[in-house]
Symmetry: C3
Subunit: 341 residues, 3 copies
Amino acid sequence: MTESCYRLGEIAAELGAELRGDPDTIIHGVATLQAATAGQITFLANPSYGRYLKDTRASAVIVSPSAAGDSPTNVLLLDNPYLGYARLSHWFDPAPRPQPGVHPSAVVDPSARVSETASVGPHAVIEAEAEIGDHVVVGAGTIIGARCRIGSRTVLRPRVTLAHDIVVGQRCHILSGAVIGSDGFGFANEKGAWHRIAQIGKVVLGDDVEVGANTTIDRGALEDTVIGNGVKLDNLIQIAHNVTIGDHSAMAAMVGIAGSTRIGRHCVFGGASGVAGHLEIADQVQLTGMTLVTGDIREPGVYSSGTSADKNRQWRKNAVRFRQLDAMARKLKELEKKSEG
Amino acid sequence: MTESCYRLGEIAAELGAELRGDPDTIIHGVATLQAATAGQITFLANPSYGRYLKDTRASAVIVSPSAAGDSPTNVLLLDNPYLGYARLSHWFDPAPRPQPGVHPSAVVDPSARVSETASVGPHAVIEAEAEIGDHVVVGAGTIIGARCRIGSRTVLRPRVTLAHDIVVGQRCHILSGAVIGSDGFGFANEKGAWHRIAQIGKVVLGDDVEVGANTTIDRGALEDTVIGNGVKLDNLIQIAHNVTIGDHSAMAAMVGIAGSTRIGRHCVFGGASGVAGHLEIADQVQLTGMTLVTGDIREPGVYSSGTSADKNRQWRKNAVRFRQLDAMARKLKELEKKSEG
Amino acid sequence: MTESCYRLGEIAAELGAELRGDPDTIIHGVATLQAATAGQITFLANPSYGRYLKDTRASAVIVSPSAAGDSPTNVLLLDNPYLGYARLSHWFDPAPRPQPGVHPSAVVDPSARVSETASVGPHAVIEAEAEIGDHVVVGAGTIIGARCRIGSRTVLRPRVTLAHDIVVGQRCHILSGAVIGSDGFGFANEKGAWHRIAQIGKVVLGDDVEVGANTTIDRGALEDTVIGNGVKLDNLIQIAHNVTIGDHSAMAAMVGIAGSTRIGRHCVFGGASGVAGHLEIADQVQLTGMTLVTGDIREPGVYSSGTSADKNRQWRKNAVRFRQLDAMARKLKELEKKSEG
């Protein structure tokens, strides 16, 4: 594994940052403010880490103009230092860069169209009439169903599964174990037995979508499941059939969205939160972790449910009382009346 | 992708529906009441959609006799229109139908018995002494462990994993990423360190079982994990070792059932609900979403726990009070006594 | 499938147990106290099963000296009978033992180093410069990324994915569908759009770690995600980037740990519990099922949140009151004042 090296001036130019210091400084890595050593660049984004700045051993710091005063070393000034770090981080990513071409062990249907600039890994499978765009990476063991269309520069990590007729935009990033286009959970009941309903719809992912490891996105029953541009889904998320998610919404791990629910744009859902089926959630709604939504949310804002951890001995007493809450409320009203009377 | 076309009379006959209209109408697709256009058939199952019936542009509607009055087009009368749709949906399913035969890239142990009518996809692996029944479909990259027995017409989608000695009934449907027969989570503790217990039991699935994408079903420790006939499991569900699930129970995504719990027949569990270990749950128990069950449930009915989303500012105040609930209840009792005294 | 047979004396010697009975008794299997028949050995670990001892049909029982009195058959005396069973269980495990060697369908990069005693299954992929230790088992379809290092006697079941630069200790056990080293969920926001941050850190697993089926462990953003020695993770768990888990902690299925949180040693987390990001959890903390932790926990002990299932009709009334809790508390205070005044 060879290391990447850059001149600081080059980095400043690429990020559009004002450089205060020596442009010939050689940078060979990125690290946290506390861990960085000579030859590494770091960043200060969260003000609560500001106290570590004066002692950093990094060779350069990406920092906002207002916080730069304490830096003992070269600085790159940016209004959004975290974004600067985000961009720069890819320069130092040690992940192997797959070469264009189809591995001889991959099974590609003759009717599939695979760009010559795409990379198809070992044991990948590409089925009939699928279209794989320019510079797409299909990881080892990844399976792309019939008639899927994968937009340019999208990366499918190893062992992803796309069922048939899935549309994926450009520059998406699908992590290992993700399943896109699994059958929605739809059954008709007759005398207690469940009869499966064919799931005929597709899944359509916009551009710049992230799908986490082992996340599942079901295909629509009749219409499509639609994931907007720039949506970011973490690991082990479940998106049920016919759901739509608006552009630039982000969901932390283990979120579940039940069938036919429509999520707005720029929403941020905390880990393990869940939204029941057939609901409408407005734009810019935030859910804290493990929140359960069972009704429409029509206004932007932060929403929560549940309680957080307490010592078990105390919690037990309170949890028992939860079952008496309605009775308590009634007694309280009676007492109020009495005291007023 | 060729489209299927059927005469309406043919559809009525197959569904056992009374046709009011033109049996020669050509139907080439199925869609929702609102989205359907000429040449498509639709259905009215949920009365709340009744208002859309009179404006549908579908060429036919599956509908109950009592609701058929408003239809502007051909009708197929059925007492359970949703079931009619469920059956019909498969006629229009665009999913590729795999051909019988073993793909040359599949690795099939010579001691395995694979029906000549079964289909085994690219890069599938079938281990020693496994038995694959008639018309079974083994998807690309699916792995079937030693001595597994797969009943006829069962479909294993791409990238399913069955460990050794798993028994799967007829007409089951196992979605991508499912893992059946993973080791149960069993350890003996000695001075703080955990010692793994071999998981010697099997998993036995009945007929007509659905297992969702990335769902995991652990093998039993000594006895078997047993999933009854007609059980439907959605995506990302965890079924721990030694669990038994009664016939025709259905569980939405992200449900977790802990070890040795016995679930009755015809239960319906909402998404992300959970049942602790070593419990007994009666037949016909329903759980609403995110409900936690920590004790036996002996009577049919609907059960719930938790709270649902509120504005964070309000929620914070109430959640703090939850920690004071027992104290509040005590004070309330004191006040009551005083007021009575 | 051939059955293993052992003499009881041999078993006693291996377990270091005192044998009361006939050392020449032949044992060909292990079963529960209630299910065991002649030729099988069983164990009594949980005192609540003690009443079944006197009727067991097993040919031998592993039991503590204090509980052995009622045994109708041969006994092996051990202070920790459950540990004895744990050790013995592996003798009767019917799981196939893979043979050393690389399956011809596996794709192994020429620069990878694979021990001659390791077993590499069908369609496995081992990328550049990976190192596979002695007696390691790499299951069918498992993918091991570039520069991974796998310690001796570690078993990776079929269809595991390790991204690049993952370090796995000795004697680990990684179940099917697990993804280790997926990209952490890190993005910088600029004008509402999310920009991905390269995840440059590794994942480091200690010795004797268990990773459950379809569990995901993200690689660190800059520093590493670290899983201590002897940690046991059940199925469908999410470990986010930069998390560290102390030695010998165990987590049941569906637990989620958010980014940069540090979990102590000897913790035990119940199913579907969750810990928010950037927290510190002390050693020996236990969480009951579905508990949500949103703040540091500094003391050992048992912690809980939430409520457990009630009949829906009752629950509804109480859940509505939860939203009035703060108002109730205020009224209660007023009444108190009045009554004191």
